[in-house]
Symmetry: C2
Subunit: 247 residues, 2 copies
Amino acid sequence: MTFMPDGNSNSKNVKTLKIVQSEVQSTNKIALSVDCVIFGFDENKLKVLLIRSDMKKFQSKWSLLGDLVKPEEDIDSAAYRILKQRTGLDHLYLEQVHTFGSINRHPGGRVVSVAYYSLINIQHHKLKILDNELHWHDVDSVTDLAFDHQEIFDTCYTRLQKRVQEHPLGFSLLPNKFSLRELQNLYEAILGVKLDRRNFRKKFFAMDFLIDLDEIEENVPHRPGKLYKFNYSKYEKRNKKWIGIDF
Amino acid sequence: MTFMPDGNSNSKNVKTLKIVQSEVQSTNKIALSVDCVIFGFDENKLKVLLIRSDMKKFQSKWSLLGDLVKPEEDIDSAAYRILKQRTGLDHLYLEQVHTFGSINRHPGGRVVSVAYYSLINIQHHKLKILDNELHWHDVDSVTDLAFDHQEIFDTCYTRLQKRVQEHPLGFSLLPNKFSLRELQNLYEAILGVKLDRRNFRKKFFAMDFLIDLDEIEENVPHRPGKLYKFNYSKYEKRNKKWIGIDF
DNA sequence: CTGCAAATGTGTAAAATTTACACAAAGTAG
DNA sequence: CTACTTTGTGTAAATTTTACACATTTGCAG
């Protein structure tokens, strides 16, 4: 990181940075879209929902689900709209990640796209509008997406990996009732690591946010595990302030 | 977090989610801007650069520095442009944080704004274009900004607090050569906590990214401290992968 | 020159956390 | 009833974090 004090900045070109009505309405060159990285978890693999691009330039490439934001629509609402259209589900975990606005990212013109990721419980949904081969892909096999969607996907996946370690997101990918084994499989799939079973359990029990449902798994060909759910309301009340400088 | 499997989604209203040229160019209702939260560090206080809003509706309120993104300009470039205009500095630390797009966030029309924060070394710059009372404010005293700028500011400040603990950003706020005391003051100011001096030193020396310059402070009315700089190139080569689930 | 004020520089012991690791019990399938 | 698979559990060692005190260096006032 370097510093270049520069007395020669182009001060003359600066207009007052006020945005007035006329200016807003005449700015008609930038379109706004949202793209959603929709994650699911099935058969111990982390999945992402993709669709075939229907732009010729990207024929045969997969792409994320997205759409233009409507003029009278909040950005978050646009993302929810896409999720609902495709999965039929409401009230999903949804997090804005980054806005991608390279000038030439979209061949159809200047389109700035706000990227979100969402976590859905694969058992609880049925895909809607099955056009363009909409379906779930293993995250490991996601390469060479259309547009700049590979970069968007990578950014969102990295964010998820970070975030899931610090916040109780992961439960959104699981059934309401889950075993500790399922929870561990989830973390292993998201983070791409193997974890020690005893230490994993110890850690979660120590956090004390799991509610023991006094139920056990059914239809497993071995000793069934106990089922738990996550105690969101207890979690909300916690106020941990974490100071731990470390690069 | 609840789940509402919903077979009744409005599938009929869905059009194919392709964005075609005509559509992009006819979407002329959304303007795109950037807003910058510019942080500085002076006299052991974290500061932010604000300007008086020149919209009547917000008279006398402070606001962030921002401008519309030009049709042929990357979003990041727009943010850099503002920084350069105002501080004369180039090559600043700049991080995109979040995009704010509530329908009515701007009285002049629909304006979606991409928020950034930047870290600058206050000694190394002179403010440019001193219109509208542009100047530095203590972050503690920042309240009731114009537009939704308070929310933007809070989001960016929170992000900085998080980020500075995990990445070597803070050095961008300090002179090239700094003492450990200055570094500790910086962290204390950003995080709003007191830290143990011996443990703070121990931690930074253990990371082993500080280069001892064999120089000492001058013009201090007490025993001078040694000066260091941060070893960015060594830091870049490190590949720490951190697994530590904890909410 | 002396003494005072202020901040630097340094180590250790206790506490807390993290890691590695093994065996008995519960269920299913044949 | 046997073999197989996975659950459920504890402890000792290693590591990391925390709390804490004193001698040293400099500037400054007298």
